[in-house]
């Protein structure tokens, strides 16, 4: 009896030691993991830190060996400079306008188009769905060229309004958004719709009063993804607007700034900070929506 109790105690002691060892191992693993995570984070974040630091630095060389991230005499002078070099305020407004029309338009088109694909029965539905699906993988390398030729032939490139139509329109029909919304609509219970239809609600009313409120999280996710896309796109706007500084959105203006004033790295980095800031704010605030949108886009 005593013997067993002793061996029991010994066994318990071993278990306790093992547990302790495991805890210690886990602790060491966690330290290792955090170190690794931090090191990788530094690789991703360093270029941003460098840009912010450069935008506030006003003396010394832009680059130093070894690199120094703390500005010696920080000031907002580079920001004042960049506003003097290019019409930044104007370009921010241009970007805001493009984003507003672009996001509203593409959300409207996707939320409308996804509704019959998810919740209505009509001939040709599956065919249309698969044709739209195919556009995701169809190679369209000459797309920008044809869009340019089309815009020119339609006379869009002659007026400022026309140019903006040409900048925004090609990006309005967003297939990923359509699938995202369709996926969200599919999860709305059919009974709700049937009840509304029984009450004599038109499909448009059902869409507006039932579907949109119930799928608001997905809708927001898509709207945020589109905002980032419209804010960041630079190539097509700079082709259509042909370097007219007063018409360029900030993204294209940024490219123009870094090529035209390539010697003025500090003013350019101030411009870069202005360019990133809204995206960063939106991203940090709506991060949850972001991930949901991305994951949904793959599953859809």
């Amino acid at each position: 009896m005593i013997e067993t109790r002793e061996s029991n105690a010994a066994a318990l002691e071993t278990i306790r030691l093992m547990k302790q060892k495991r805890e210690r191992n886990k602790f060491i693993t966690n330290i290792f993991i955090y170190a690794l995570l931090t090191a990788i984070a530094l690789v991703f974040i360093y270029p941003f830190l460098w840009t912010v630091s450069t935008s506030f630095e006003t003396t010394g060389g832009v680059f130093e060996f070894p690199p120094n991230l703390i500005p010696k005499s920080p000031s907002f002078r580079n920001y004042v400079d960049v506003f003097a070099l290019v019409p930044v305020a104007r370009q921010i407004l241009n970007s805001a306008l493009i984003c507003f029309i672009g996001v509203t338009g593409s959300v409207l088109i996707a939320t409308l188009g996804a509704y019959p694909l998810a919740k209505m029965n009509f001939p040709g539905r599956d065919l249309i769905f698969y044709i739209i699906l195919a556009t995701l993988v169809l190679p369209n390398e000459a797309g920008m060229i044809v869009n340019y030729v089309t815009s020119a032939n339609l006379g869009l490139l002659r007026t400022d309004v026309g140019k903006y139509v040409a900048v925004i329109a090609p990006a309005l029909g967003n297939v990923a958004g359509l699938f995202l919304m369709r996926q969200a609509y599919l999860s709305v219970p059919l009974e709700l719709l049937e009840a509304a239809r029984m009450d004599g609600a038109s499909e448009l009313t059902i869409w507006r009063k039932v579907m949109l409120p119930l799928t608001l999280p997905t809708l927001s996710a898509f709207a945020i993804l589109q905002f980032v896309a419209f804010w960041n796109t630079f190539l097509w706007p700079s082709i259509v607007l042909q370097g007219d500084r007063n018409l360029l959105p900030l993204s294209a203006g940024m490219l123009d700034l870094s090529s035209q004033f390539s010697t003025n790295t500090r003013a350019t980095s101030a411009g870069a900070v202005i360019m990133i800031l809204p995206i960063l704010i939106v991203f940090l605030f709506f991060q949850r929506y972001f991930m949901r949108g991305l994951e949904g886009a793959v599953k859809g």
Partner: protein
């Protein structure tokens, strides 16, 4: 009893028949109205897709057989392709300058694809754990994805500067002469790889999120069961995690294969096509928007489309595995 049940079914059938005929009376107008409503909802989507996806493909193919500077367009048959590949009357001139060089560089860019998959799967596995502040790290890895290439290009020009931070690291480890450092982007043997590094850096977070979603959809009990059965980590990864990620791998590698062959914007913002970084889509862009030879550019674009289709298919066959 049997009789009554039969009569019951009869009654039900009767009701169904009545309901059906009643529905049929008003159903024709309802049928057409339903179709009209459905297509009304779809009208914006269909028209935008027609105008900006299908029309560009169709007109692009037509354009490839013409000479066009927008003001006038003239059908010239396969002349653009003959000029591109340097056959028939263009045999003496050889293939169009920089076309093959560009194509070769675009194919070299495919090296990014396995690197991105490998690193982003690793990254996804690293951040797929419930520990404090893990969200912060995920965010940090994702920030480059939401940053415009216009900004990213500027930042990386700084990173690669003659006296920039990357060269500092290279001098510290002794790979670069500290007294006379040279920018990697001006060096034609490294510049393309330098641009690739930026592409990997910018894209990793995106693929990480996709793989993370893939990892989280794998049944945890499978992995646990394997561990109990004595499988080591490597075996668990090979026989459970990786097969579970196959659908994600298929999508991700296809996406990155297509964008590798079409790579242009990264080159445009970082080197402007200098130092041996000229890619085939740069060629297409330059022919269209610098030389204003839209027909010739469309022909080159068509060739690129064909090549990316082939590599897309190859990629699909490679990642599909043994599933049918």
């Amino acid at each position: 009893m049997l009789h009554s049940r039969e009569s019951q079914t009869g009654i039900v059938e009767g009701f169904v028949m009545i309901a059906n005929t009643e529905a049929r009376v008003g159903s024709r107008t309802r049928f057409w109205r339903n179709i009209l409503t459905a297509y009304g909802f779809l009208l914006p989507t269909i028209s935008f897709k027609l105008l900006f996806t299908f029309w560009p493909i169709a007109f692009g193919i037509y354009l490839a057989f013409t000479q066009s500077n927008i003001i006038e367009t003239k059908i010239v048959g396969t002349q653009n392709f003959r000029e591109l590949f340097g056959t028939a009357e263009f045999a003496a001139r050889g293939p169009s300058p920089y076309f093959y060089e560009g194509m070769l560089n675009s194919l070299k860019y495919l090296m990014c694809v396995p690197v991105i998959q490998f690193l982003s799967i690793g990254l996804a596995m690293l951040v797929n754990r419930q520990i404090p502040a893990i969200g912060l790290f995920r965010t940090a890895y994702y920030v480059p994805v939401v940053t415009s290439l216009a900004v990213v290009g500027f930042m990386w020009k700084g990173m690669y500067d003659q006296h920039g931070p990357l060269n500092y690291i290279l001098t510290v480890v002794g790979l670069m002469d500290a007294k006379n450092p040279s920018g990697l982007l001006n060096n034609s043997s490294y510049a393309l790889y330098a641009v690739m590094l930026m592409t990997v850096w910018k894209g990793l977070g995106y693929y990480m999120v996709l793989y993370l979603a893939g990892l989280q959809s794998i049944d945890r009990t499978l992995e646990e069961a394997a561990v109990i059965d004595g499988a080591n980590r490597w075996q668990v990864f090979w026989s459970i995690t990786l097969p579970g990620l196959r659908p994600t791998l298929l999508v991700c590698s296809l996406l990155s294969t297509i964008s590798a062959i079409k790579v242009f914007e990264e080159i445009y913002v970082l080197t402007g096509g200098s130092s041996g970084t000229y890619t085939v889509m740069y060629f297409v862009y330059a022919k269209a928007f610098q030389d204003f030879r839209f027909g010739f550019a469309a022909a080159a674009g068509l060739v690129v489309a064909f090549v990316s289709l082939i590599f897309g298919l190859i990629n699909f066959r490679l990642t599909r595995g043994n599933q049918t």
